[in-house]
Symmetry: C2
């Protein structure tokens, strides 16, 4: 009795620990870890604040919403996350998606966060994370490359201080070039200076030697200074631009477009809005959901995809395991609770996660520090944000999205697998029109490319003393008519084959449509007094065929057994030919 109780307790504790990964690492927490987490958390915090202000503009929301979105994810992930490196928060791609589906309206954005959270939690609880596997790399790459261009170009107008440029990408490009003469000199000069500064600092960081290898106090101190400067470059550049703007303001003139007033203080903890009051009456929950449409699929799925991909990448780099379904739950709860503090949907940020890992974070507790930095800046620094020039934030975004555009993939795919260029190009081009069309079209085309060999498997045909037919992969219902047509062409066009052997070694499953097709084939063989012999049936395929009680069904484990039983010399040449892997051809190019 006591033993049973103990076993039950043990199981419960294991389940709780699986669902609350903090219980695994917290008991082992040490002072050394705390130090590392403090430094990493602070570093990420100094990056997320300027990025949050900038991404809010990409999402088409007032700047404070970027900060509102930046802390809840850190806290929730600390409790529920299984990767030490991942940091959740606003990202360039998610901001672009929010700007498409939330109509630049915080009410829609917060409802989208709430629903995204609910959908992600549901996917996690139903263990549907495997659905993400159906988004192939070319689709992801096509989307991120298109997003990088869209987001980057979107910032050009801010960098140049142009006003009233339409949102739609093609129109945006057109009007930006048309009205390039209206460029505001102050914004443009400051923007380009920030851009250059950020690029130089980024390159410096890349070429910086590892600190641990250095000797001598002076060298180590100067290394530390350079490391800090290059790592906190976003914060420093924005701070510097803000100071310049402030000094101009004090001197009475203002050549820059400024961020302007940001409401001070933390967001209230309240229920997300389930309807919207407008001058023309109330928009109901149903209508809001309908307006967001495909966004309710695209936002949760892309969010999950980004987080899981990042978590897997860093888990693999730093040799630990993550639990995909637990990651879905962590994401889901971050968004669900985020919607109570007016956040827009968050996801794992590649750039900040990399920064977190490089700075040497030891546990997800680093997120607590990051979250605290965001909360402090919301509480005390919003008056400073007034002076941040928009052009400086635009420079921060351009530097963040530039590495996302990957031109080499086109060359790589051309070299490695040209067929994959189809989903890549389709996704890439359609994403400029509408993000969801690009992703959906890419996924559909990938699935069609996946289904084509299922419907038209390679069929190896060997004409020697006996006709040997071998489907190169599985035999599923879309392929049975094709197999029958091939058989007709090969077998019934010439009457010299007394027996035909169907080699099912590669057939790992079989369905009733196939069984029916085979049964009709067998009947036809019997009518023509020819025989169809099955070889190489796997155990459960044989089970299905036996259960179907096919008339005239005859099978042998291998070609040798068939030979022995039929008393013919079927094998000799056949095996030699079948072993030669270069001879696998689609049925259209038959080995004669």
């Amino acid at each position: 009795m006591a033993e049973e109780n103990e076993a039950c307790q043990d199981r419960c504790y294991r389940i709780v620990r699986k669902r609350l990964p903090i219980l695994t690492w917290l008991p082992k927490y040490s002072l050394q870890w705390l130090q590392a987490d403090l430094v990493a958390g602070l570093t990420v915090g100094l990056t997320v604040v300027p990025q949050a202000l900038a991404y809010a503009a990409v999402a088409g929301l007032p700047v404070q919403y970027g900060l509102y979105s930046s802390f809840m994810g850190c806290f929730v992930y600390c409790l529920l996350g299984t990767s030490k490196d991942v940091t959740l928060g606003p990202t360039a791609i998610m901001s672009l998606l929010v700007s498409s589906y939330a109509f630049h309206d915080p009410v829609y954005a917060i409802l989208l966060t709430f629903l995204t959270g609910c959908i992600q939690i549901a996917l996690g609880l139903l263990r549907l994370g495997f659905l993400l596997d159906f988004i192939s790399y070319p689709v992801i790459n096509g989307f991120t490359s298109a997003a990088a261009i869209t987001i980057g170009f979107n910032q050009i107008k801010t960098l140049l201080g142009l006003q009233n440029i339409p949102q739609q990408f093609v129109l945006q490009v057109y009007y930006t070039f048309c009205r390039i003469g209206e460029t505001r000199a102050g914004d443009a000069v400051l923007g380009f200076i920030c851009l250059i500064a950020l690029t130089v600092l980024q390159q410096m960081k890349k070429s910086l030697p590892r600190g641990s290898r250095l000797e001598g106090l002076f060298i180590r101190i100067s290394h530390l200074i350079i490391w800090t400067t290059t790592t906190a470059r976003n914060a420093l550049v924005v701070l510097f631009a803000g100071l310049v703007a402030y000094s101009f303001q004090v001197s009475g003139s203002q050549p820059f477009t400024l961020t302007g007033t940001t409401p001070q203080g933390l967001p209230l903890f309240k229920l997300p809005p389930f309807s919207k009051v407008t001058p023309n009456g109330t928009v109901s929950f149903g209508n809001m959901v309908q307006a967001m449409g495909a966004g309710l699929v695209v936002v949760p799925v892309m969010g999950l995809l980004e987080t899981v991909a990042i978590a897997k990448a860093f888990a693999s780099q730093n040799s630990y395991q993550i639990d995909s379904n637990q990651e879905l739950l962590a994401m889901g709860f971050s968004n669900f609770l985020g919607s109570f503090v007016s956040a827009y949907p968050v996801t794992g940020s590649f750039g900040r996660t990399a920064l977190n890992a490089q700075t040497g974070v030891c546990t997800p507790a680093g997120g607590l520090i990051t979250g605290a930095v965001v909360l402090l800046s919301l509480a005390y620094c919003t008056s400073i944000f007034y002076y941040i020039p928009k052009a400086a934030l635009a420079a921060v975004i351009i530097c963040a999205v530039a590495p996302m555009f990957d031109i080499r993939i086109f060359y790589t795919l051309w070299k490695v697998k040209r067929l994959d260029l189809v989903p890549l190009c389709l996704t890439f081009l359609l994403c400029f029109w509408e993000v969801q069309y690009g992703i959906i079209a890419g996924v559909l085309v990938s699935i069609i490319l996946l289904l084509y060999p299922v419907a038209r498997p390679q069929i190896k045909i060997l004409k020697h003393e006996v006709l040997l037919i071998q489907p190169g992969s599985g035999l599923n219902f879309p392929a049975i008519e094709f197999l029958r047509d091939t058989m007709y062409k090969q077998v019934f066009s010439e009457s010299r084959w007394h027996s035909v052997i169907l080699d099912c070694s590669h057939v790992s499953s079989i369905d009733y449509t196939v069984v029916l097709g085979l049964s009709e084939l067998l009947q036809e063989f019997q009518q023509r007094r020819q025989s169809l012999i099955f070889i190489g049936l796997q155990a459960h395929v044989l089970q299905v065929l036996t259960a179907a009680e096919l008339e005239g069904f005859c099978h042998f484990p291998s070609l040798k057994d068939a030979e022995q039983s039929l008393g013919e010399d079927l094998c000799s040449a056949s095996e030699a030919l079948l072993d030669d892997r270069d001879n696998i051809l689609p049925a259209s190019g038959i080995i004669q």
Copy 2:
């Protein structure tokens, strides 16, 4: 020059002959064939006339539209068809679909015919016939069984003479039983007599011995009489019922619901309607198309499916070949031209095709006679149709659809392949709600069942002296994460494996996402100073992997070669185990 010209002419002639199969059989036409075609065409004609009147009621259209739909298909198929047996015309299933999508309005029905024809011609020209392969047998069976019940039950109210019963299936069942007390005695008695007569004649025909085996003039004449009576049973029963109704009419009382006035004469040859004038204004082409919605996919596809399935079945039974794409074109032109003579969509009729084959038709010319019978009855017999009791037509339909309901399939699938019960039951049940939902849901579920093993292939794992991992089927992008997870669990959880062998014998194609996943795996192996060795790569898979220039990529043709090269004894036990086909298990059940 002359030779070239001749070769070109020859090729042209072959293409023309492929597109106009009549050119193949007409030159060989003989008097004997003519005799057989005459008898068969007449027999089918006597069946199609009463069926056409009845099916028009199923489609919710005035009776003459059944006849309008019955001749064009016969003529066009004679020119373009590749099967001697198939006869096109109104069928129970197509009539049910028309009643769903044409709103009981001839204008919609004719436009639907036109668009169906255009879509089918397009599918034929684009050689998209293979799309039909994605409709599996359980989906077709679920649909036809549901259609048999819907159509059969739909006729019960007519058989009983009930009025004003709603169309929706569930309501229809409810109200038919509620108002069973309102049954009209005359209709019910006549209906059941017709039903019994048809069933008895059908059974008689089944048990009739073959005429050719009989001897003696008297026996042969009585056999001929019985054969004629049982074969033309539909026409005879309807004629008998009409005579009874006529004699009642003459005597001054009428206990039956009659067909009523049918407009005399042939339909005009005119453009199909592209808009509809209503009292509330004109309904535009766009709005009509929108109203028909999914019907524009379901009607052409189901029509093609029925025709191709029937053509293949009879081609196989009578040992000839059909050309699926030419069948699509024949169907398409039948509908396209049919819409000019006010036809509703037609397709191959299983019952009449079987009758055609049994009567011994020799060429598609039999269709000309069938078409002529229909035209003659339209020109001269419509005044007789006035007296046909609706209950008699209902009996004809019930007898035609009864064999379509197949209860044994549920038992067969339970025995042979239980998973296929899912699309079957889903299609069957949803078809009672809306036909398109049933078919679409069935097809989607079939595709998911098809994709599941693509995403989660069986992975054979063999732990002996070396770790051997073998994907049981292809390796496509949805499976790569699964393969990696399996690898992590197997390889990195224990450090005792120095080298791991990935056997790709069953992998017939590879995409870039997989290449990327493998490249990351290779990196990880290198980091851990373990080695990953590929064996059994097919030629083009190897080509892709070589083009990708993976770091640390090492492959051997077979396990033996790997063994020789690595100087280890990898094979001995491994091969024995791998050959044992019962050991193929999903990764969750690993062979230790």
